[in-house]
Symmetry: C2
DNA sequence: CGTGCGATTGACTATGTTCAACCGAGGTGG
DNA sequence: CCACCTCGGTTGAACATAGTCAATCGCACG
């Protein structure tokens, strides 16, 4: 099996209602500024969340001060479903004006008890979170900075373009996060991320417009960036 | 917050019934030999599974031939809940005589529709899988072989001793997996894993009895193995 | 228009991988 | 029953790759 398909998530299953449809009656949406925290580590887990627009990072800070980004949360992603008591990680908005919907956990669970359809919905989004984390582990598991950065770009292209993004044809994708975020996501130094990107650019695999917009030219070249 | 608590899972919540209690009526248990496959990559996801005894590895083989172990599955762990259609990874038994319970997915889901308690159970075990994967990402995210191997040992001590294991007092833990498995789990070479272990042994942080039995002497020393 | 942060590039260093040899326990077959 | 073979594990030396330190660039925002 080819790596590209490993990194590709399950196609979202068609529902009679969209995921979150039933839940949406409970939703409280909030707007966050750049870098603003949505919840902190060890915060009581009173809600489930879903990114409506913008982007967020889930992370933890190690004892040595290094920040480890556990995953990026993009429009459509649910998060915070894992915790029973307190959130294990903090979540911050990445871009200005990120909109997040919050669902009171207890009420959602109670609703799910009475409504099997909602129960299935929750299992679906939870399964999606598991799939996301597993592909994440695959990316982290790659050795070599080129492979990691390539896999990261493919993941983002996949996740961003399947969402709204409205990426008009050949404009590529617009990364919502900084090089530092990417570095903390891939467990690399910023310098290495930067070098990997210039390397990919120089060999014609990608094109960079400004610093945040990336157009993938040769998918194969990225997928083959093992080691 | 100290790293040790980050790597520690949520304490298993008390249930009136044990997790899997309702499910157990559907269970089919099977016995597997050392290295025997439980399911392959791309196999239709017709069942959920739970490890009863023994141990298993979930993994994928990259294009370059490297084997990446996504996670280890120990007694009590549910797995295979993520997939809606096909399993993204293969699973193999690690030790001779591993017992695995299989639950037909469709029937379990149907049962969950009618039984809210089962629905909550499923959400609980799924949340546990998410927590496991997230701590996994933290371990992978550590830089430096000492930190990774230390975190691995702490994770195993935690997961194994909370299960049956019957680790009589000072006997330490019995690792079910080989050095090669550990290497593919941590994305290190076997040699580096071996060196890290001898290093930890020499500085008195752990004691090795034979090659598989590990006794952790100084938890602090392991936890502080940053970098 | 200036300031500051994010990004890039370079030189040196540290850390892990690779290649290779060796060891030891367990299992098999003569 | 013992020799041998294989596989898992450890150790050593040379090499490769990413991290660190440092300087510079440039874009965005005030």
């Amino acid at each position: 099996m080819h790596v590209s398909s490993q990194l590709r998530h399950d196609q979202p299953t068609r529902h009679r209602h969209n995921p979150g449809d039933v839940l949406s009656s409970l939703a409280m949406t909030t707007r966050y500024g750049r870098g603003q925290e949505i919840y902190t580590q060890d915060h009581p887990a009173e809600h489930w969340y879903r990114v409506v627009s913008g982007a967020a990072r889930r992370f933890t800070v190690q004892v040595n001060g290094r920040r480890q980004i556990v995953d990026f949360l993009l429009p459509g992603d649910f998060f915070g479903l894992a915790s029973r008591n307190v959130h294990l990680f903090a979540v911050e908005a990445i871009v200005e004006g990120t909109i997040v919907a919050a669902y009171p956990r207890e009420r959602a669970e109670a609703l799910a008890d009475a409504n099997p359809h909602l129960g299935r919905e929750i299992r679906t989004v939870t399964a999606a979170e598991i799939a996301r984390l597993q592909t994440r582990i695959l990316i982290l598991g790659r050795i070599g900075s080129l492979g990691k950065v390539s896999a990261f770009l493919l993941e983002m292209a996949e996740r961003l373009s399947s969402r709204t993004q409205a990426s008009k044809a050949g404009e590529g994708i617009l990364l919502p996060m900084s090089r530092y975020d990417i570095a903390d996501y891939l467990t690399l130094s910023v310098e290495t991320v930067s070098r990997a990107l210039t390397s990919l650019k120089q060999r014609g695999a990608i094109r960079l417009v400004g610093t945040r917009r990336v157009k993938i030219i040769h998918y194969d070249a990225l997928e083959d960036s093992d080691e």
